[in-house]
């Protein structure tokens, strides 16, 4: 038996919008800790990890650890039918092959039940080790989204370099090159507008912009984004969800191989 009641239903709608283009099918895991998901895109380059902690739900009942395989496109279709102020409840019975999304209007005068078929999804769960990152950049999420969008009109890849000067995003394409440098800036009116750079070691990595742009679909979830970089690891792009948890995107870097030397 599973019953999760989320007063801030729009949050779930935003989460789906952030994930559905990256991942088609995924298993949602439910435990006493919370409602979570880990899934890779079909080419195994990017991974998304979602956590909505149980404390963030108004009512959270999950008798045993369960996973539910869902098609995210279909789930998003159903959640789009919920109003932005609606309270959303996720329900499933043991052994059932369906999940129910219940939408209640704030005034309780309209209640909608959407039942969706579950799927058997054979997915690999990857172990993500806790790591010390060489550099961590926190910046306004809208700013990061803008940079990714702008750069992708010039090139396909972005080089993200963190030095003492700040964080530099650069690209190169057929028509020319682009470099955007963001410096540390903490003298702002609102804390979410700050750009904070913690650097232990300078780092420079190359990524496919296509994926970065897909990650920025999560921008409505949070005013700030945290980008963690290490030279031997995939980048982590994290959007914190207030009082609930996070959406974290991991992206494998592009690597120039030395065996590809020219004749």
């Amino acid at each position: 038996m599973l019953e999760l009641r989320l007063v801030q239903g729009s949050l779930l709608k935003k989460v789906m919008e952030a994930l559905k283009d990256l991942v088609n099918d995924a298993n949602f895991d439910c435990s006493a800790t919370g409602f979570s998901l880990q899934a890779m895109d079909s080419s195994h380059v990017a991974l998304v990890a979602l956590l909505l902690r149980s404390e963030g739900f108004e009512h959270y009942r999950c008798d045993r650890n369960l996973s539910m395989g869902m098609n995210l496109g279909n789930m998003s279709k159903m959640l789009k039918c919920a109003g932005n102020d609606d309270i959303i409840t996720i329900k499933a019975d043991d052994g059932s092959d369906t999940v129910t999304f219940m939408f209640e209007s704030p005034t309780q005068d309209k209640i909608a039940d959407f039942e969706m078929k579950l799927m058997d999804i054979d997915s690999e769960h990857l172990g993500i080790p806790e790591a010390e990152y060489h550099a961590i950049v926190r910046m306004p999420s809208a700013e990061f989204a803008r940079i990714c969008k702008d750069l992708s009109s010039i090139g396909d890849t972005v080089v993200i370099s963190v030095t003492k000067e700040g964080v530099k995003f650069s690209t190169r394409g057929d028509i020319g090159t682009a470099n955007i440098v963001c410096r540390q800036n903490t003298t702002v009116d609102k804390p979410e507008e700050a750009t904070i750079i913690e650097m232990n070691e300078p780092v420079s990595l190359t990524f496919a912009l296509r994926y970065m742009n897909s990650f920025t679909k999560a921008t409505p979830l949070s005013n700030t984004v945290t980008i963690s970089l290490s030279s031997e690891l995939p980048v982590v792009v994290e959007y914190k969800i207030a009082e609930m948890g996070y959406v974290r995107f991991y992206l494998a870097p592009k690597i120039e191989e030395d065996e590809d030397e020219t004749k």
Binding site: S42, S43, H125, E257
Partner: protein, 363 residues
């Protein structure tokens, strides 16, 4: 060719061991490809109408070059790193099978002549496909082409499938691509079918994992090899009246060919005289392959522009513009193969949860 009926046997008895994958999902992967099998397919399919095939000015067939060139570029553009493995000397045991194929081709040649007389177009096409043989020249042409493209080529000491499987076992490549199911019998841990199919056919790649096959069939490696021999392989006859399904039942019941031979009704099943099943088994278990790193140089290099134009355009009548564009594609593709995969950083772990939906068992 390969193991008789193995695909169906696995689909029926080990469905979880095979899964459909998108062609694109293999980017960044090194894949060993059975070259002779691919060349054979190209000769059958590429640019054929009736008995007419693509040729150069001298009238020599170029279908294999066209096929090898365009399919390899398709692989490279998807970020896949192909290694082509060519057949060496066939094992002695295969001579019977090869003789059979030879006589089939001879029959087809006669049939073709007849069909040409009557002018039946369908028959002409059908029989002319059956007369196709991959010659030494075809192989040499393709090797030359691949080297010019910067794609590594390995000449196996004997069977190409066996060498492919060895490369995969030692982790030098991620998977083996062939249409010949005996790659699995040779123990290729991961085997792909339809990777080399034309994109127009829109067939997903079928991936087989040997470990899962053994688990699902509940057999050991040796028992699986015995199952393949009983089902019918290239190296020896099978027992009349025993197909894949019966073979599986017998192996499960008795455990090995020796025990089966002791226990089955010899009146009902005729065991071939001097049945060389032990030699066939040995061929599958310890095939003749190179294992030394020095003999297996696997390196992808930049394409040789001038060499490709000289070979394809000047010698074989390819369109110069198309070849130039294709070379650009090869160069652009190099960039793509640099994308890393998450599995190189994070390792799989067991999922902490169980599915809410109860798995239904039909057994």
């Amino acid at each position: 060719m390969g193991i008789k009926g193995l695909t169906k046997l696995l689909a029926d008895n080990a469905p979880k061991a095979m899964k459909e994958q998108k062609f694109e999902s293999y980017f960044g992967r090194k894949i060993a490809i059975d070259a002779s099998m691919s060349i054979y397919q190209f000769l059958i399919v590429v640019g054929r109408s009736g008995t007419e095939m693509l040729t150069n000015e001298a009238g020599e067939v170029t279908s294999h070059l066209q096929g090898m060139f365009s399919r390899t570029i398709r692989l490279l553009e998807a970020g896949i790193k192909p290694v082509y493995v060519f057949d060496g000397k066939p094992p002695q045991l295969k001579s019977q099978e090869l003789a059979k194929r030879y006589s089939k081709r001879a029959d087809a040649t006669e049939d073709l002549a007849q069909a040409m007389e009557t002018g039946n177009k369908e028959d002409i096409e059908k029989f002319s496909k059956r007369t196709v043989k991959v010659t030494k020249q075809h192989n040499e042409d393709c090797k030359r082409l691949l080297k010019l493209m910067g794609v590594p080529v390995i000449e196996a000491p004997s069977e190409a499938e066996a060498q492919c499987a060895a490369l995969c076992k030692s982790g030098k490549v991620y998977a083996v691509a062939s249409e010949d199911m005996d790659s699995l019998t040779f123990g290729a841990p991961r085997f792909l079918r339809h990777l080399m199919d034309p994109s127009s056919r829109k067939v997903p790649v079928m991936e087989f994992e040997v470990a899962k096959i053994l688990e699902e069939l509940n057999l050991s490696t040796d028992q699986f090899i015995d199952l393949c021999i009983l089902s019918g392989c290239d190296y020896c006859d099978s027992i009349r009246g025993i197909g894949g399904q019966t073979a599986l039942k017998l192996i499960r019941q008795h455990g090995s060919i020796e025990n089966i031979l002791e226990n089955i009704n010899k009146e009902r099943y005729q065991i071939p005289d001097n049945w060389p099943y032990e030699e066939a088994r040995q061929l599958f278990k310890v095939p003749e392959v190179y294992a030394d790193d020095n003999q297996l140089e696997i390196k992808w290099t930049a394409p040789d522009d001038e060499g490709l134009i000289a070979f394809l355009v000047n010698e074989n009548g390819f369109n110069s513009d198309r070849v130039t564009k294709a070379i650009e594609k090869i160069k652009a593709a190099k960039n793509k193969s640099s994308q890393g995969r998450l599995e190189s950083f994070f390792k799989p772990v067991a999922s902490p949860t169980v599915p809410i939906k109860r798995k239904v068992c039909f057994h």
